[in-house]
Amino acid sequence: MKANIVEAIQDAMRVALARDKEVVVLGEDVGRNGGVFRATDGLQAEFGEDRVFDTPLAESSIVGVGVGLAAYGMHPICEIQFGGFLYITMNQIASQAARLRMRTGGQMRAGMVIRAPYGGNVRTPDLHSDSLEALLAHTPGVKVVMPSTPYNAKGLLLAAVDDPDPVVFLEPMRIYRGLRAEIPDGHYEVALGEARIAREGQDVTLVAYGAEVQTSLEAAEQLSAEGISCEVVDLQTVSPYDRETVLASVEKTGRAVVVHEAVRQAGMGAEIAAVIQEQAFYSLAAPVQRVTGWNTPFPFVQAEHLYVPGAAHIAQSVRRALQD
């Protein structure tokens, strides 16, 4: 079937609900309304109110109830309406979901998926555009997955639902509908923890995830006209991420640029740069560059196009990496 990312996600949930009766979908407006982005459209009608249901407007309990459901053996898919509201759920995610297994000596697990759209350049109100993956990447015990295409969106979500660990699944709002591609019908999985090479290249490695993979590919295309060959690594799983694929690429190219739209300081770009210089120091011909949001909160809409890395921002850093 042909699908955009949000349709691929919807299809993944449909498949998951159909193949495993322990899967339930819960969140604000996920029922009758089908989610504010229509990600759960039609699911309640198809699977009933016991499988797909609205919760009260209370994010901490959306995750907390999910932990209880999971502890009892079900596999909830919780929707948080916008990624910025994950702040409210940090305690339930970090102190509870991520540690239930530890706390019970392995007897229980909080196998659950927490879905949320994230990211800017969509002209949304306050706190609707934040990218909070680094907070979660600093929270071992919870996996963080960020798809970039319809194919991996569906396959990663199905893998997340099958995973016994809690997974935060951050969906690139900006390209929810932009990309349309052929995806397999029915069940398939894209393994968690594995990066993919989204484009092969020789001169520099671009490491990205989520919507910025597409932006990086754009930049790579532009740069190829200048004779610069970029390899684009799509992490897919942001935590725990596939260090080996990143390192192998950098060992080949000798240069790296990490791209994300989250705040720069203590973001994933820092982590990846730190690991590259630690483990591929002698392969590096130039310092690892970071192309990221600024060290400011996500800005007012009038400035967001400057904050969220575009192809021009990325190309600038690639050229810089090549100058050194």
Binding site: P56, N295, T296
Partner: protein, 365 residues
């Protein structure tokens, strides 16, 4: 021993009304608005209707972002705002835009916000916190600001507003519980408009009313007809006066209905019937007050048209002014992040701006 130990809920909250749906006077209250205030109530409600239409059409034209609609809720907003003193603090959300403007916040301020820019400053002497987008989060702020007023010996009252859905958030609980425990001069005002986007009030909480949640915080509650501007004003006035007198917080549930979509991005037909909406549309709070005023001889010929005209003019002027400036640059964002930047911050700012300049994106919009 009783047959059962468990005491089922039985708090009864009658609906406070002063005016019936057909404009009939149902009662009087010492806290009801005087004649001049009644006219102002009508005027602001009319303004609210015009404001709502205008904002929706600005959104359709792509001149502002997604905007919540307020049609049907004008009496709640105006009744509350006019019961407040200018220095009292309004701590509300996107659904209280009419209350903000009626309380004294400039229309441009609101427009700037929805234009994706820096909201202008609140006018001198107008008590308010910024329009909150994160549901429920403002209620502990309201408790805190009220505590500050009390500690400083001011007699300002703080009004914390939210919707029916917001009452489910942990911060609703924590804000009200703090306010009760510290007996601060706060009034909590819930516009129960029947829906939290697509989730009906009945599925949000099992309590019969929101008003009765007050008791769990040791404060009085009241359920008022939110489409009856006189009743909302009277009830809010009583609660605010009481808080001002040091008698502690109260919770008001204003029962109203959101006639329009949740926001301009919402399609309410997905979750509610046209019939339900039509039913509620009949009870237009503006019409209700006008009918009363007509019956009581307080309505002057052409008043509504005059107020509409005035509202349109005010909106046009504000839009013109707001659109004259795109007020955000990257510098703004850096400069608003820190009140006291450190040298590292300033270097970081400079580098980022230089990088932006290099790729020629500064100023491009």
């Amino acid at each position: 021993m009783p047959e059962s130990f468990l005491r089922p809920p039985k708090a009864e909250f009658p609906l406070v009304r002063l005016v019936g749906e057909d404009g009939t006077r149902l009662g009087h209250s010492p806290t009801e608005p005087d004649a001049e205030t009644q006219t102002q109530l009508f005027r602001w409600m009319v303004f609210g209707r015009v404001f709502d239409q205008r904002m929706i059409s600005l959104q359709r034209q792509g001149r502002i972002g997604t905007i919540g609609t307020i049609r049907g809720q004008e009496a709640s907003a105006a009744g509350l705002a006019l019961a407040m003193r200018r220095t009292d603090w309004l701590v509300g959300s996107y659904r209280e835009l009419l209350a903000y403007v009626a309380h004294g916040v400039a229309i441009e301020n609101v427009l700037n916000l929805y234009r994706g820019g820096v909201p202008g400053p609140f006018p001198e002497g107008v008590g308010a916190m910024p329009v909150q987008i994160v549901i429920g989060t403002q209620l502990p702020h309201a408790a805190g600001a009220a505590l500050a007023a009390k500690l400083r010996g001011s007699d300002d009252v703080v009004v914390g507003c939210c919707g029916d859905g917001a009452t489910s958030e942990g911060d609703f609980h924590e804000g009200l519980n703090f306010a009760g425990a510290h007996k601060v001069p706060a009034v909590f005002f819930v516009q129960n408009n029947g829906w939290a986007i697509s989730v009906p009030r009945g599925r949000q909480t099992a309590s019969e009313t929101i008003a009765e949640k007050a008791w769990g915080y040791g404060m009085p509650g009241v359920l008022v007809d939110g489409n009856d501007a006189l009743a909302v004003y009277a009830v809010a006035k009583e609660a605010i006066d009481r808080a001002r007198a040091g008698e502690g917080p109260a919770l008001i549930e204003a029962l109203t209905y959101r006639v329009g979509p949740h926001t301009t991005s919402d399609d309410p037909r997905r979750y509610r019937s046209d019939d339900e909406v039509a039913q509620h549309e009949k009870d237009d709070p503006i019409v209700r007050l006008r009918l009363l005023m007509e019956k009581e001889g307080a309505y002057e010929e052409g008043m509504q048209e005059r107020f509409e005209e005035e509202a349109r003019a005010a909106m046009s002027l504000a839009i013109e002014r707001a659109e004259a400036v795109a007020n955000v640059t990257p510098e703004t964002i850096f400069d608003l992040t820190w009140a006291a930047p450190t040298p590292s911050v300033l270097r970081d700012r400079q580098r980022t701006l230089e990088d932006l300049k290099e790729i020629g994106e500064v100023g491009k919009e």
